[in-house]
Amino acid sequence: MPTLHAHATARLAMSPAVALLLAWMLVPLGMTLYFSFLRYNLLMPGLESFTGLGNYQFFLTDPAFFDALANTLLLVGGVLLVTVVGGVGLAVLLDQPFWGRGVVRLLVVAPFFVMPTVSALVWKNMLMHPVNGLFAWVAQGLGVAPVDWLAQLPLFSITMIVAWGWLPFATLILLTALQSLSREQKEAAEMDGAGPLAVFAHITLPHLARALTVVVLIETIFLLSVFAEIFVTTNGGPGTATTNLSFLIYAQALLQYDVGGASAGGVVAIVLANLVAVFLIRLIGKNLDA
């Protein structure tokens, strides 16, 4: 088996994917990087000029920048917490035999198929609306003052909306992993006198470690750039309570039409996202090794 030849073939096999992604990175990302050094506003054509690090300075000194950074992390962290804890719970639940389990599983996974825009519209207008919404009606029925969700608890509300969509994803992956856990292993532990909690902590959870890693990693990638849910519900407000990095960049790009500033914001976001990724890999990356 000539390894040299094998490696050449392997490289060849990888080349289309690598080349495409390289092009994807070099062309739009490269252009973004280039624009980030330009003073360039779409609405004022012909005035483009080199501005060095001016755009970065402008973006990083935005009074909303640190709020946006904190909101981004809170949103990612909050959704991860809800989906991981809820996902493990749901997976364990759906692993138990009960009547109509197949149908319940269909109900549980359904939110994953709903477009973010649609789910935000539905939650905002039909559920969370303080006058016409269903939650307000329930609150009134219970004799409590209705909560104005998006004004009083804006970030929490958005976390809930986003988590609702991602919970099924976590559940599906964790359930699959759970089903591969052999009954014998569990039963053996139970024979040894371990209670259900001990079995869960010492057998089930370690078994799920790798699936959990996958859930956390994939979700983080998507959650770092949550946008539609915020755009539809709160427009980043009230104040900057729900402005995350994506929304801040959106405001630069599609409200100010400040291409230079938005590009600088994009570069900052990708740097920060990679920091998060490196941190995650350090933290849980060992689970990814086969």
């Binding site: 035999p97 939110p111 016409n132």
Partner: protein, 276 residues
Amino acid sequence: MTRAATVQRKLAFTVIGWSVGLLLFFPILWTLLTSFKTEGAAIQLPPKFLWFDWTLENYFEIQRRSDYLKHALNSGILSVGSTVLGLVVAVPAAWAMAFSPTRHTKNILMWMLSTKMLPPVAALVPMYLLFRDFGLLDTRGGLLAVLMLVNLPIIVWMLFTYFKEIPGEILEAARMDGADAAREIIYILAPMATPGIASTLLLNIILAWNEAFWTLNLTAADAAPLSAFIASYSSPEGLFWAKLSAASTLAIAPILVMGWFSQKQLVRGLTFGAVK
């Protein structure tokens, strides 16, 4: 455990399971019900759950106003097409990474994933300029390429984790018998990895179907998928809850039905190595 205890336990889980399931499904169910109400009934409190005057008026109104089928067809073509294209590129790459790993493999994977981390809105203007110069604005071809690139890292990564579960010896044996790389992938690897490939395919179709930034901002009329369709119902003047519900129902129905029917296939390959 006694028989009675088992039944009791099963009963308890049935109650809990159904409550949780219905709770999570409720927003969708509510949307579906509202779509059959009149605008007046849609905001009526206390709400009526089943005993209202059912009407199809909202659906007729939507059909009068927009070409739902065109948008749905575009969504279908874009999500399936971009995923299939992505698989064609990703399968060889994941194969190479899984069976001939080098010390760079993990870094390459990480680098691929990192290309997904740029917030799309930051790259809108560059992309728009590129699309304009290549005549790709409002074309399915252009969007297919973008959606494929956006999801390619996830596809490669999912396939990679699945392929790693397959014992390399079988592939090696085939290679000994003189199969070249293409044959090895198509005739040996692909059949063994069908569940993984199917899961990847389905998951990425869902992700591409729900993508709402590029598909909305790089299209106008011809290539616009359901994300653009929804944008015309999200908040017009006047009462719009019922029409919004009908439009939402139409936008999620195809993917939801597909997801439900293929649920087994979707799940089977999502094991990410937990089988071992």
